[in-house]
């Protein structure tokens, strides 16, 4: 299948990182960046390819995280099984929210706001329910065995999240080349026209949302295993909803590598600003926000958009050259 080469190349390159450095600072940084890339890729399917911007992806992230955490802590379920169930639960929540929203014909800003509201409702419920530990949160016990999906070293975590990101990249590429992908883009570009051509827009959007939710929920499950502690604000807070859309939009919305690129850039920017400003609270984030605005002003279609523009410009200048030569001759 075409288009897999860049993906394989990128993943292979990233896979070598733990072999080059044993610095846990770097590994931890990359694990978090890859986690955001995964969550962002989920968002990208629905938002980039489907054109439906969600402001509440925390709903799926948090569900994945809580389901796997609660199953392990309260019911002694194995961590890997919990992971699978967490992803399934996230997908289910996505399907429900999607069904409710799309059947009511919600689009654009209304859709964005309703997803925000759902995430907020889940957050409030999680903050008072006994099963999630309410305010106290849920703590997964330290149990450094691979069977419990915990590792002494950072490297296995790194490879696992990298594998997950790689799979998501392949998944998106496959969708891009599939009929479903074509329907999805058609719905994004002009929903009415698509419907008139026989595309069941509601089902298409619903499928996209379910898959999107599953991918993001996987990120949530991983978070729970990596950090071992979640509470309502962490699981369902707006921070993750924002990270989920920031990475793809900066990196290149509706592209395969966009979320990964965006996550790396955004996280690196955060670190750089911290170093530059030293210890003064707030200053680093001021610069971060300012750079964000600049990036959007300069590269409205994200980083991938810059490359696409450049390539387009190069092609056009190559096409123009022989013509001028001809004219020169004649």
């Amino acid at each position: 299948m075409k288009g897999l080469v860049p993906i394989v190349a990128v993943v292979a390159l990233l896979a070598t990182v733990p072999l080059i450095t044993s610095s846990n600072v770097v590994l931890n940084f990359l694990v978090v960046a890859l986690l955001i890339a995964l969550v962002g890729q989920g968002w990208n399917l629905l938002g980039g390819y489907g054109g439906q911007y969600s402001f509440g992806h925390a709903a799926f992230f948090g569900t994945g995280a809580y389901v796997t955490a609660i199953l392990q802590v309260r019911y002694g379920v194995n961590a890997w099984l919990g992971f699978v169930l967490g992803v399934a639960a996230g997908a289910l929540v996505g399907a429900v929210i999607g069904a409710l929203s799309f059947r009511s014909g919600l689009k654009g800003s209304y859709f964005a706001l309703v997803t925000l509201a759902f995430a907020e409702v889940l957050r409030i419920v999680a903050s008072v329910s006994p099963i999630t530990g309410a305010g106290v949160g849920t703590l997964i016990s330290l149990d450094l065995r691979p069977m419990a999906f915990q590792f002494q070293n950072r490297a296995p975590f790194y490879w696992i999240i990298l594998a997950m990101v790689g799979l998501s990249l392949i998944l998106i590429r496959m969708i891009e080349h599939s009929r479903f992908g074509a329907y999805l883009v058609a719905v994004r570009e002009n929903e009415d026209a698509a419907r008139s051509l026989g595309v069941n827009a509601t089902i298409v959007k619903l499928c996209a949302m379910t898959i999107s939710a599953a991918v993001t929920a996987a990120g949530g499950c991983f978070y729970a295993q990596y950090f071992l502690f979640i509470d309502a604000g962490i699981a369902y807070g707006s921070w993750i909803s924002i990270e989920a859309l920031l990475a793809p939009i900066i990196g290149g919305i509706g592209t395969v590598l966009g979320p990964l690129l965006g996550a790396l850039v955004v996280k690196t920017l955060g670190e750089l600003t911290k170093i530059v400003t030293g210890g003064a609270p707030g200053l680093d984030l001021v610069i971060y926000g300012g750079v964000l605005i600049l990036v959007i002003a300069i590269a409205p279609r994200g980083i991938v958009g810059i490359f696409v523009d450049l390539r387009g410009r190069m092609r056009r200048s190559k096409a123009a050259a022989p013509a001028s030569l001809e004219r020169g001759h004649g």
């Binding site: 610095s23 008072v128 703590l139 330290l142 030293g278 210890g279």
Partner: protein
């Protein structure tokens, strides 16, 4: 000012941290014997200085930094040839991931130990990460009991946990009530709905009835809460003898002001870990709302000259002497003592030194330290009451400077 100095130190250390990081993990394995005499001992100082908890984080950092400055001014770590302590400041950004990332960086920078965290969630994540490297971690404030019940050898908590706080609060309440002739029977609890508030409310709900009190209602509220008028209404309608608030500073102040506005005046306001109940800032800004409020909270030893000297120094800087300041101050002193006794910056030796610690040079009313499973056994909260424009200790008798005024006189 001091922060200028801290700024450039941080920049330097951040650069060193990344440099050390990319050069692979050589620094961690450096054996103690190769340490040249006088090489600074690096100490990780981790607080949420940005984000929702930034005020507390900044106060915590202030306390820790003052302690480091004081120790260095007094000659550093004598057992290591007068080695100075060098702070590696970390911003946890009010999230566990933030705390986590900082611990990694501090480890990469080769710190001997880490102090801080403040919020329970941050402490849990950070101490767990530190455990991977057998890096000693002293929790400054975080009160959830799970912090010290995970079997982590590296984690120590200098201050008290929930269980002790709730029990002490109730014991003292019963005593105060008895001494006043038992005027209070009914109680309403108002708590914030995250880790500390919920945990505390649960314990109180279990134990209050056993001590002869009736809990009329328990009201959780989010942080932040925009308006307490309904809560005040409910209190007014049910007219409990006692109101027990457990929340953070802003909500506490809002609640107290609203109660004053609505003319709600129970026989007593007895907070447990009340966010503003024992805060000089609150007393200064809203003296009428603050009058006679009792708190069971972290407090310095009012009879300790060191504590009073620190108070003066902090107030001279126009800062408030809040619990984050003196608890962090004490934690750093505790750590320095452990390093002295270990005569080494080796992590394992520091952990052993902490385990055997009987440190009494801190500013808290705990007596000498004694750690069992990481929890300092002597740690306990103290009862205070706002009288006039001052906050006085009313319990335990060993540290008290005033008798409780209970029930509250009418407005």
């Amino acid at each position: 000012m001091g922060s200028q100095f801290l700024l450039s130190r941080r920049r330097l250390l951040a650069g060193t941290a990344l440099g050390a990081a990319s050069a692979a993990a050589g620094s961690i394995a450096m054996p103690a014997v190769l340490r040249a005499a006088g090489t600074p001992v690096k100490l990780g100082v981790l607080h949420p200085v940005t984000g929702a908890l930034s005020y507390s984080g900044q106060q915590g950092r202030l306390g820790a930094s003052m302690a480091i400055d004081d120790i260095n001014a007094a000659g550093g770590i004598k057992a290591l040839g007068g080695a100075k302590i060098e702070a590696v400041l970390g911003d946890a950004q009010s999230t566990p991931e933030g705390g986590n990332a900082e611990v990694e960086k501090m480890n990469g920078a080769g710190v001997a130990a880490i102090v801080g965290g403040y919020a329970s969630g941050i402490c849990l994540a950070a101490s767990q990460t530190a455990a991977r490297y057998d890096l000693p971690y002293i929790v400054d404030v975080g009160v959830v009991d799970s912090i010290v019940s995970r079997g982590l050898k590296n984690t120590f908590r200098f201050g008290p946990g929930f269980g002790v706080i709730a029990k002490t609060a109730l014991d003292n309440l019963v005593t105060i009530n008895d001494q006043a002739g038992k005027p209070a029977k009914t109680v309403m609890i108002v708590h914030e709905d995250s880790a500390f508030g919920s945990g505390l409310a649960k314990l109180l709900n279990a134990q209050l009835p056993e001590r002869g009190f009736q809990v009329l209602e328990t009201i959780p509220h989010p942080t932040p809460t925009r308006d307490f008028n309904n809560v005040a209404l409910k209190i007014k309608a049910q007219n409990p003898d006692l109101v027990i608030p457990a929340n953070y500073y802003n909500e506490y102040v809002l609640l107290a002001r609203t109660m004053q506005q609505q003319r709600v005046r129970p026989k007593g306001i007895y907070s447990v870990l009340g966010g503003a109940a024992s805060s000089y800032k609150f007393v200064k800004e809203f003296p009428e709302s603050a009058q006679y409020i009792m708190d069971c909270n972290h407090w310095f030893d009012p009879k300790n000259p060191k504590a009073l000297a620190l108070k003066k120094k902090i107030e001279d800087k126009h800062e408030f002497y809040t619990y984050e300041v003196y608890m962090n101050y004490s934690c750093v002193l505790l750590l320095a003592d452990a390093i002295e006794r270990a005569a080494s910056a080796d992590r394992a030796k520091i952990i052993t030194a902490l385990e055997n610690s009987t440190f009494a040079g801190h500013v808290m009313p705990y007596g000498p330290t004694k750690f069992v499973n990481g929890q300092n056994q002597g740690a306990a909260p103290v009862n205070t009451q706002v009288v006039g424009s001052d906050i006085l200790v009313i319990f335990p008798a060993a540290f008290a400077s005033a008798k409780p005024v209970f029930p509250m006189p009418p407005a």
